[in-house]
């Protein structure tokens, strides 16, 4: 009996340990799991539903955050440039609607229509996917490459190096990373950081 108790408590420790490490989310080089989220179009969208994609520019963003808003036109431009090359933008809003009412699904539909979003804008209502990825702020970009039987994390970070003044940008991190993946090269800057709004976690 004693042995069973010890084994059980060891198993619990292992479980707790794996749970806390999971909380940190993906690192560059990790295998990525697919998800299935509702788009502002009303459809359910998974990465597997993009049959011809070579990879994805996954961007955690939202309606209300000034840093997200500052990047909306640049996200639209990324989709215009890279969808045809096989790297579509997939935007995800994970903010809890009770904490941030401007980020509800209904408000997402309005925002997508106003700004004529040319990409899928998905609602992560349970915040499970933000936890899975380790998304901390908006905008927060994750570039994933489709390989033979899996999805591989290639880049985590910012879109570029100037939020407020697009004309003053000198380093286009996301474009450089996708171009390098498409050319079969290593991503030279696989990690960057930026200031952003916190994801509004459920209280």
């Amino acid at each position: 009996m004693k042995k069973i108790v010890i084994l059980l408590s060891m198993a619990t420790c292992l479980f707790l340990f794996s749970f806390t490490t999971d909380k940190k989310g993906y690192q560059v080089g990790d295998d990525v799991s697919d998800f299935n989220l509702k788009s502002t179009s009303g459809e359910m969208v998974s990465l597997a539903s993009y049959k011809d994609a070579k990879g994805f520019i996954i961007i955690f963003t939202c309606n209300h955050c000034p840093f997200s808003m500052a990047y909306e036109d640049r996200i639209i431009a990324l989709q215009a440039k890279y969808k045809a090359k096989g790297f579509p933008v997939v935007a995800i809003n994970s903010n809890n609607k009770d904490v941030s009412p401007e980020d509800s699904y209904e408000e997402m539909i309005k925002r997508a229509a106003e700004k004529k979003f040319n990409f899928n804008y998905l609602y992560d209502s349970t915040q499970e996917i933000a936890h899975q990825f380790g998304a901390a702020r908006t905008p927060h970009v994750f570039i994933v490459e489709k390989q033979k039987s899996n999805l591989k994390m290639k880049y985590i970070g910012a879109i570029d190096d100037n939020t407020d003044e697009p004309e003053a940008v000198t380093k286009k991190y996301v474009e450089t990373a996708v171009d390098q993946i498409l050319a079969g090269q290593e991503v030279t800057t696989p990690m960057t950081k930026a200031i952003g709004c916190t994801i509004k976690w459920k209280k």
Binding site: D164, A168, K193, I195, G196, C197, T198
Partner: protein, 146 residues
Amino acid sequence: MSLSAQKREVIKLDQLLTILNNKSDSLLVLNFWATWCKPCVEEMQEFLRIEQELENKKVRFIYLSLDFKRDFETKLVPFVNKRKMKSDVFLLDEPDYDAWINIVDPSWQGSIPATLLLTPNAENRHFHEGQLTYLELKKIINTYLP
């Protein structure tokens, strides 16, 4: 605390680095925030309350705004005046965030609010990403107060 007028300035990275050295005999509480950031503004109430309670202690508060530079006169200064903030408030004008976030703390993901405590000469440090409650902040300050 010094009687000189509190500063409201736009600063660059070299000035942030000087602040991070904390060449003073007080505990430094450095809060990263912005006027548009709701959790930051909520948290600010608690910071100002604690600041008042600790008026005679060896602790100094600096509020480092990440508002855009063009919003300095129109948004930041009016906010600071309205709240009658007594400590130094700086706007850090360094848009290439990746160049300095890790210098502040390698664990920082970049979300705000974030708070760094530095003991004199930056001998000890404590970093927290996310909104602090009154009790949480008070507890951390008491741990490091000289």
